[in-house]
Amino acid sequence: MRYSGFRVIKEALLGQKGWRPLWRDPEPQPRYDYVIVGGGGHGLATAYYLAKTFQKSRIAVLEKGWLGSGNIGRNTTIIRSNYLLPGNEPFYEFSMKLWENLEQETNFNSMVSQRGIINLIHTDAQRDAYRRRGNAMLFAGADAQLLSPNELREMVPFLNYDNARFPIKGGLFQRRAGTARHDGVAWGYARGADMRGVDIIQNCEVTGMRIEGGKVLGVETSRGYIAAGKVGVAVAGSSSRVMSMAGMRLPVESHVLQAFVSEGLKPVIPGVITFGAGHFYVSQSDKGGLVFGGDIDGYNSYAQRGNLPVVEDVLEGGMALMPMIGRARLLRSWGGIMDMSMDGSPIIDRTSVDGLYFNGGWCYGGFKATPASGFAFAHLLATDRPHETATAYRLDRFARGYLIDEKGVGAQPNLH
């Protein structure tokens, strides 16, 4: 079933009776060539590219809850490629290019909206740092533009430019960044994978791994044992829990990150605005809600909810940046569990167990990476070689000293 404008009109005339479920609900088979653990954005994207681009078959995605019930449904939907380091920026720019073609690729409305992202500048030193970052982005084929205070005032006149502590002196602008419909991304990949024969098995929790002679044979699940040629784990947030079934300790801590949405308002914020100095960022959803957030709570957590001090901190940041936000009412807040890695960058790699592959450590930046993460993980699973943009995301980089520390804070996950 292909979606199109014609199809919408036809269904409207026929009483909307022709729509069908987007994917099947198959029983697990006893054996697959590829088992992807985790039916979130990254796992579904992996299955999709494995089936489509790498022409593999006999693939299953195992999800312990319902499809897309983890962080793909709990993020603030921002897509961007404004990283600095050579290990990161080409990967995120590859992701950005996949985002730009995602809807044509999956024939699903992921509502990719390239409305731009602005990182605010408050000091000369920060302007220098952002100029450097902008140049690094241009080197990797991304777009970047340094905005003067006047240009910024024209685009976003409502900011508090004369804040005594953090006066706004300009911004780094990436026009091609923006937002996407987070659930739509998962559904689009799920539908595309299902159409290519991938079994998406929900309510199927992996409870153990069968490993013999250093090789993975399959996974024990709440719906029975499933044998597998290769097992790919993409369960960011729960990575330590799942990989401990294979006896591994990871360079990862799980932390909670909160997000917030206001009541629906008329269009007021043109793109995404980040106020790093005040630990606040904001965009406006297509429904009109202001979607915003700040820092992680800062302590290990698997609770999917945070505490009030961070709520207060984020709202104070919002009030300092754009006082008009005080007139909006907060509608909802929620928390998601982040795989905070020891250098703030992700891992896509083989493991010491033959046939077991790991994708995680996405910190609070996993959503924007979804397409490239899936593509790179599928590339690794299919060819046993890392994708050219993901060669730095090795699991052993910590032991070898090749960290990708964008923020330069070292092995202190709650500071990344």
Binding site: S240, N300, M342, A411
Partner: protein, 95 residues
């Protein structure tokens, strides 16, 4: 979250700075032959349990003591708090 400080009673977690797993107290011996492996393990790898977790909190806005707080990472319930110096002495005696 309120942390039951052994000297000061219930204190707001906001007064504290969080470091991480209390195993960070057990610094490996730098002169041992396997120091490189032990330090990799010490600096980068974590158990990261879902459930009861012993962790280091620094009372930065208070009496500047280090506490070992036992907390459930699934519920945020705090089960115990003790002075890290006393716990360190205890473990030395046991060793």
């Amino acid at each position: 979250m309120l942390i039951p400080h052994p000297l000061l009673g219930l204190r707001d977690a906001q007064e504290f700075t969080y470091l991480g797993d209390a195993s960070l107290l057990n610094r490996p011996d730098a002169s041992s032959p396997d120091a490189a492996v032990a330090f990799f393990d010490y600096v980068y790898l974590r158990d990261n349990p879902a459930g009861v977790h012993r962790e280091l909190w620094f009372h930065e806005q208070g009496d500047r003591s280090w506490l070992i707080v036992t907390r459930n990472t699934l519920t945020h319930e705090i089960l115990n708090a003790e002075l890290a110096c006393e716990s360190a002495v205890k473990s030395e005696v046991l060793a």
